[in-house]
Symmetry: C2
Subunit: 349 residues, 2 copies
Amino acid sequence: MIASNKLRQFTQEVFLACGMPLPDAILAADVLIAADLRGIDSHGVARLSGYVRLHEAGRANMHAKHQIIHQTPSTATIDADGGLGLVVAPKAMDLAIEKAEQVGTGWVAIQHSNHFGIAAYHAMKALPKNMIGISMTNASPLVAPTHSKERMLGTNPICIAIPAGKEWPFVLDMASSAAANGKLEIAQRLEKDIPLGWVQTQSGEPSTNANELKHGGALLPLGGHKGYGLAAAVDILSGVLSGANFGPWVPPFVAFLNPLPDLPGKGIGHFLGAMRIDAFRPASDFNHQMDLWINRFKNAERIDANQEVLIPGEPEYRLTLQREKEGIPLHPSVASDLQKLAEKFGLSL
Amino acid sequence: MIASNKLRQFTQEVFLACGMPLPDAILAADVLIAADLRGIDSHGVARLSGYVRLHEAGRANMHAKHQIIHQTPSTATIDADGGLGLVVAPKAMDLAIEKAEQVGTGWVAIQHSNHFGIAAYHAMKALPKNMIGISMTNASPLVAPTHSKERMLGTNPICIAIPAGKEWPFVLDMASSAAANGKLEIAQRLEKDIPLGWVQTQSGEPSTNANELKHGGALLPLGGHKGYGLAAAVDILSGVLSGANFGPWVPPFVAFLNPLPDLPGKGIGHFLGAMRIDAFRPASDFNHQMDLWINRFKNAERIDANQEVLIPGEPEYRLTLQREKEGIPLHPSVASDLQKLAEKFGLSL
């Protein structure tokens, strides 16, 4: 267990040691710590050494200067200059919010980026402005389209964050695959089988083996062909609309795999949006009715009296409160990973 | 088998006989026939008598005059005046397109509406303008949230239509439930079991009984809690943002069930959007790369050499070509339903 502020400070120092300017290091660290606070441990400091390796492989620009390369009153496209999505995505979200303030909604496509951490961080930036936030990204190809044995799509997450009144906001942040890779890793550590429907073998057979990806298998899309369609739509909005890479050409996050030759675009892509509530109806009416929506669903008749009906985002809000107070638990392998980073950069953790 | 133009003409005449003005009857008929042409038989003329019964029950306004009740440069909210979604949604999509022409994107929320037919019809209106179209709606509560036995959400579909170059556009039109009600009806007719994961019993147990909904059971969301989150997001954007009803208060499509008392909103709700491609990048670059995207996915390595990898929307484009030429097959129960409408209104079919 480690205090979140101590972990945040350390994470900043690692990014600084990689040559990132201070404001960007603060931002990148905040995105990673937000993941750990929310309990999305796979996307927090567990990935810090991965970002460092991308930098060392010359595949992440730590002093990237993003630019707007195309825009209209409600849209923009940003070239992230090969930097981390952790840094450019929050800045792009600020631009989406600014455009929404002007004309009701704002939409920003981003090319030439790298992994942006948890989607929720970016979408949730809209909440204090009483706006709906939307974020999505494409990612390293691991998921097979329906009827194919080839890895063509990432776990391509979608997040929508919706403000309420007195209640916690509604924050849906989901991969478009049946299960995220992190869930497979948990089963691997426990040496347990996984449910049918999560992965297939290299030849496309159903499998319950949590190690299937290491043997050339693929993740499966959420609920079959519909999840394939969703993942594809996220890939097109994030990759094709922005001018980034898409489908099997999305550069892998892991530094030991090289991008394919003859890439059709630049880096990986994201797509972000912000919609002002009062661009559609008086904000107080909406906030009041969101509270009604939330309370009605929380009180939906339970199957098991001891298992409550949850609102998307609710478990993460609860965990954030707990971890801000009690600290963040680190898996031994993550703790040792961070220790190695501390030694490499002469930092203390 | 019946020629699509003959069926279209008959459908228009039925709407005219219900008191709908000619331009609106032409539009409503076009939406229904588009569903039959695309092979979404459950949403085509099979529903015509349902719309007539809603009208007869005083729950659908056949001479509705919609109005814009709120707007910004990129957004609007429309009161559909209790009319059919079949009529107001295409008109609202025209407004979204107009706004996108002005400021890059356009987004329209609709309250006080009724069932809008297939989501794809509305989103696809963006395609000839080289825009991305988005449409969604809430619907009669049939789906239970995760951990609940209560029917709280509709099959709440989402459609995204994306233009390509030489290839057919990408058109994903999917319910956010594991299976649409129409699939259960097919299994009922064949007296076959359905896969686990589609429905649960009244007490929340998994079931393979295609008749479970008639015994108080519920449909299940796509892929578990993620589908619940998606359906909920569609409900909030369509219902809460527009000022329509939401969740369990969405008025039922079937005229023999009455809406609940003390409704929090007006009618059912939709949410539509249009995004200009050239608001993000030069349109020809995008169209060219969409063709590359489509061809790469169509050529993804197959599991079974005889089962091709499909692009969302592809089967519907093929079927439309076929049915425009060969005619639309009518299930005997639908044919007899239409015959009764013909007799009721003194029309010939």
